[in-house]
Amino acid sequence: KKMAEAPPVSVNEKKFIENALRKGIRVDGRKALTMRKLQIQFGRKAGTVEVSLGKTRVFSACSADVVKPYPDRPSEGFLRLFVDFSPMASPYFEHNRPSGRSVQLSRMVQRGIRESNAVDTESLCILSGSRVWEIRCDVRVLDDDGNLGDCANIAAVCSLLHFRRPDVTVVGDRVTLHSVDQRQPVQLAMHHIPIIISFGIIAEDESLVMIDPNRKETTVSTAELSFTVNKHKEICGIHKIGGTPLNPNKILKYANVAIENATAITEKIEKLLAEEEKSQQKRSRRGESVYTNPIEAFIDNPEMEEEKGETKKKMEEEED
């Protein structure tokens, strides 16, 4: 691994990690195939969430905007996912200059969610050919203690599940967006929940495999293996890029381990979302605000909204 991207680990520490793993335990006391503690904390604003996997911490937020669709896909909305490696997370991350590894991780998260069609982009259509929703999910890495891919993915997925977009009424060519005060905002339609599970492998002896490696364990591994899977036992992606060669049978074996863990994580996410839903209902019964408008422009002023509806209609007429 490049010196510039990973902090050096001493030979003593490396040997210690390896020897411990040979006995089936990790330096922090975990077993080889035990993940770290996962904590998910939802924010006040719909779609904001902070996720931590052990000491690794990630923040994610969603926003929505109304745009024109691509002409060859008039009924499809957009899902944009960005993973930002903030200099907050590690002294090796430079502001707005992602390293090769950061780009790889961010693509892995993006592709796992977008290419597996986790979010139903056709449900994001407002007016075919002229107006669709563009949902943007920004994942920000806050603290790097290894396995950023898994953590960022969980944060993105939780953020999308927690997010509520404004409700829309379409009458002919006229589109009205309702502010959250007028109408309850709407959940995004998701087909499935992809989860990334990563392994670190010290390939001097191929049996040295650890799930959810922390920063030092990642530096010491000679190969990394990530699976994007869901609880329906579908594989959305397998990533093994460079590093020491692995036996394909071993890879499939770990795919099963990944699916087990992904299922457990999915259940935890669904449970926490249900609890969050309940406490949101309590808050709204007490008269406290539950959501804040994801689009700043569509708030408060109903006159502004009618105006916007008219401007939209004019724009459509001009386009015709």
Partner: protein, 212 residues
């Protein structure tokens, strides 16, 4: 019309939030919340180095989207404020990096960011020659609101951000948006100074009680 409010919203703080940072603080004023990470003194690139002083670098990261001009402006303002507070002469040829991640924006975000950054510096143990306390005040007709929420700021005719040296109440930052008379400005400063004292009191109390 909204009743004027001379009181700060409730302030919350948690230190040592991040594991890799030299100093980190989660700071909130009402619903506005920021996560501040301070690293330094650390290595600086040739183009940023200064042979007399440490280079102070501030990055303000938005909740969603790419950095906007308003975030870059906030970064510059926080950077300029903190450069006069940190003892930069003690660490030449190094940099002090402050990253402010906005977690929730509900008004008074600039003063929230400055206060959070100040607390982050203390958590990181970076020597400063003054304690900075920032306050935002809005005015609508003749009613002043201290530490306004987002709705308060929208309704206001003028929004003033002030940062004071907590020791002698001198102004380090004064940034106004909107029209105001000299006497209004004077009144706003008086009100803000009183509020800044409360912010300073909170900071001292917090660090004294969380000394390891």
């Amino acid at each position: 019309a909204m009743a004027g409010r001379g009181r700060l919203r409730s302030i919350g703080c948690e230190r040592g939030v991040l594991n890799r940072a030299d100093g980190s603080v989660r700071y909130s004023q009402g619903n506005s919340c920021v996560l501040v990470c301070v690293n330094g003194p650390m290595r600086v690139s040739r183009k940023d180095e200064n042979i007399h002083n440490a280079t102070v670098q501030v990055f303000v990261k938005p909740i969603t989207g790419n950095e906007d001009i308003e975030h870059m402006l906030m970064s510059t303002m926080v950077e300029d404020c903190l450069s006069s507070v940190i003892l930069v002469k003690m660490h030449p040829l190094t940099r002090i990096q402050i990253v402010i991640q906005l977690l929730d924006v509900d008004g008074s975000i600039l003063s929230c960011a400055i206060n959070g950054a100040m607390m982050g510096l203390i958590d990181a143990g970076i020597q400063c020659n003054k304690l900075l306390a920032a306050v935002t005040v809005t005015q609508l007709d003749s009613e002043m609101i201290v530490d306004p929420s987002k709705d308060d700021e929208k309704r206001a005719s003028v929004v003033v951000n002030l940062a004071f040296n907590a020791n002698d109440q001198q102004i380090i930052l004064s940034n106004t948006n909107g029209l105001l008379s000299k006497s209004d400005y004077h009144n706003i400063i008086n009100t803000a100074q009183k509020a800044a004292l409360k912010v300073e009191k909170f900071m001292r109390k917090f660090f004294e009680s969380t000394m390891r």
